[in-house]
């Protein structure tokens, strides 16, 4: 239930982020026992590179606290969509925070908004939609993969978000978003291999007073076809973009500074006999410290093209 609102202490059943380091965090469920493969109830022990954690021990602990592992320590954090996106079980390729932030902004999602999403996928984006639209809005999320839809439904329930979301198992390209959703949506989001097929259904689902549309596509051809249909249906403010986040690695670097001036003049004759002394003057180097910033070798070069559009008010829906 730890996704509903900010809370201070871990309760039994909470999803908790066990934060080991920037590159190592895990979403664990705060339950004292689990059932193993043999069907036996056993004590819930979570293994990490820094040793094991008896999960029972974190129940009642304040979020943000340090917890001891058998060979080190970790911090327990309350999950939120950002941390969840980094730790969730991948059932599909997912969209990450930089793109998602732009999607939420451009779709103008705020409390009270009705959003239609397809496909649900791993629920990464859904969690963001839900944070932004609760407690007064609603998310309708569709996936054509039955098991994925079912998993997502259970997950939302477990996360305390079940009241704000309906999960559908449905092929929206062929069947649309159900007639119950005609004219109810403030925003429609598509992440589909053939978004152009679903655009007419998005058109139907959007409110007569208008609304916003977004399609996420890895390939430019999908965006091109999608824009074609959007244009035909009277969408405007059509706009495609890429958002690429770059991390800066901050560190103090020590840089050698070499002296070359001394080479201009002959060596001090007095120093010459003392060959140890001589050797020392041969290394005219000092080290200076710099607070530097650089990018990692590997950066995200492409995630997808985001195509946004506005359905203006009062377009007749035939």
């Amino acid at each position: 239930m730890s996704f509903l609102k900010p809370k201070t202490h871990i309760e039994q059943g909470d999803v908790v982020i066990l934060y080991l380091s920037v590159n190592s965090m895990h979403a664990i469920e705060a339950v004292p026992t689990i059932v193993n493969k043999k069907g036996e109830t056993i004590v819930n022990i979570f293994q990490t590179p820094y040793g094991s954690l008896k999960v029972q021990n974190i129940i009642g602990v304040e979020y943000g606290s340090r917890v001891e592992l058998s060979k080190g320590y970790a911090h327990v954090l309350q999950p939120n969509p950002e941390l969840w996106t980094q730790t969730l079980p991948h059932r599909t390729q997912i969209i990450y925070t930089p793109d998602i932030s732009m999607i939420l902004h451009q779709l103008e999602v705020r409390p009270g908004a009705v959003v239609v999403e397809s496909g649900t996928g791993s629920g990464s984006l859904s969690h963001y939609f839900l944070r932004a639209l609760k407690p007064t809005g609603r998310l309708h999320t569709f996936d054509f993969h039955e098991a994925r839809a079912e998993q997502a439904r259970e997950e939302f329930q477990r996360h305390g978000l079940g009241d704000f979301v309906t999960v559908y198992h449905r092929d929206v390209c062929n069947l649309g978003f159900t007639s119950e959703l005609d004219g109810v949506a403030d925003a429609v989001f598509l992440d589909l291999p053939a978004p152009d097929l679903a655009v007419p259904h998005a058109f139907k689902a959007l409110k007569l007073s208008g609304g916003r549309f977004c399609s996420f596509s890895p390939c430019i051809e999908q965006s091109q076809r999608c824009i074609n249909v959007l244009t035909q249906l009277g969408f405007n403010e059509i706009c495609s973009m890429e958002v690429l986040q770059q991390e800066s690695i901050i560190k103090t670097r020590t840089m050698p500074v070499i002296d070359l001036e001394f080479l201009k003049a002959p060596k001090d004759a007095a120093a010459e006999p003392n060959s140890n002394e001589d050797t020392k003057t041969k290394e005219p180097k000092e080290i200076k410290k710099y607070l530097t910033s650089s990018h990692p070798q590997l950066l995200p070069g492409h995630t997808g093209f985001l195509t946004f559009a506005t359905l203006p008010p009062n377009i007749p829906k035939a």
Partner: protein
Amino acid sequence: MSRKSTIPSIQLGDYIVIQRQKYTKLQKFGSLDASATLGKEHLELKSLLDQPYGSTFKMCVKESKAGKRGAQRQHTLELVSENELRSIRDVLNISSSGADNRDIRDNGEAQALKSEDIEQLREACNESSKIIEKLVENSKTFHTRTEYSQDKYLLKKEKKYFEFVQIRQPTIRLMADIFHRQDAEKIMGIRVDTLSQIISYSGVSGFGSYLLYESGTNGLLPAAMLNSIGADTDATLVHMHPGNVPQKQALLALKLPLEQQQRCISVNLYSVLREFYQGDKVDATIPTAAEDDATQTDNNMTTEEQTDEVEPTTKKLKLDQSPNCKQFVYAKLPLRWQLENKRASALMHQKFDNLVVAAKEHPSNIVQALLPLVKPSRPIVIFSTCKELLQETYMELKASGKVTNLHVTSNWLRTYQILPNRTHPEVNMNGNSGYLLTGYTLS
């Protein structure tokens, strides 16, 4: 659910967004006499009253005056139906296009119409499509140009003569665009992608108590956060600023319900910290709101609209601010800023569910002062245009052990032209997303 499906109508006192093709402008519709300026065109706004937002209006020339840089035209606005908005391209019905531009010599004489002719044409024809049609007819080279080059020509002309405007209701999205395009410095250069990420990383939503310090974004940052907090929720925002009065234009333009507006508590940084630490000891004697005169200049209000934001009490206070009568003025009834300081101080004692800092100053001391007010396991987001300052702050926070999962990020935003056979990233891009330092507090 709570959002009305009916389209709201334009009211006096509203801020409106006027859109002409891709150009948008935020404008206060303060009175029936109000008019707006789009380049050389002046628009009388009175006919907007009670029309639904999203409507399109035709600019009808009323009179034309000679100005310094060509004619200044006064227009009235006439509501038009959607059907009238045929694409300019359909109207002109261009079909034949030259294969390339090998036969074109650019001698400046491709257009047979002289500029006087065009000005006359403009007075006579009310429709841009007619004007452009004439221009194309009289162009010696138009039909020999490539389709690409024809399109460029048409777009340029269309932009100049386009006679329709749309009136839209301000949203965070529209205002972020307008502010950034018009004067990015006034919103500290916070670009749309950065703004969207401040909202995400800070976790601001319908539940919780949030803390923002910003040193001047025309109200955009508090408005974006309050927008995410939503109507009919319990969440609150304490908005700290360094000046005498908060910049609130974007907040006012959103036209949020009163109950929601009241959940944004705007307070002076120095004043509220003194209230927090020293409580009743100070507020009757120290002229806190006027304290930071030095900072005030950074946050001077420059547009006409912004003067509206000054709360009457604060305005008065400013006028009375001669050294001699200071003590006198402040000794009276509790002023609005004093009450706000008390509300904010109470929330500060309960601690916050995030911290957002967007400072023109070095963020380090500000973060140090505000970090103790944040609960553990909560996101912090620090924005700066200057990476060097965030580097130092990063190192300090890292050394302190009070914040974990620290990241410094920036973004590229590439927009694309997607057109048949002419798909490419836009030729220009903005080089400055600014930088974000994010992390989570520890207990």
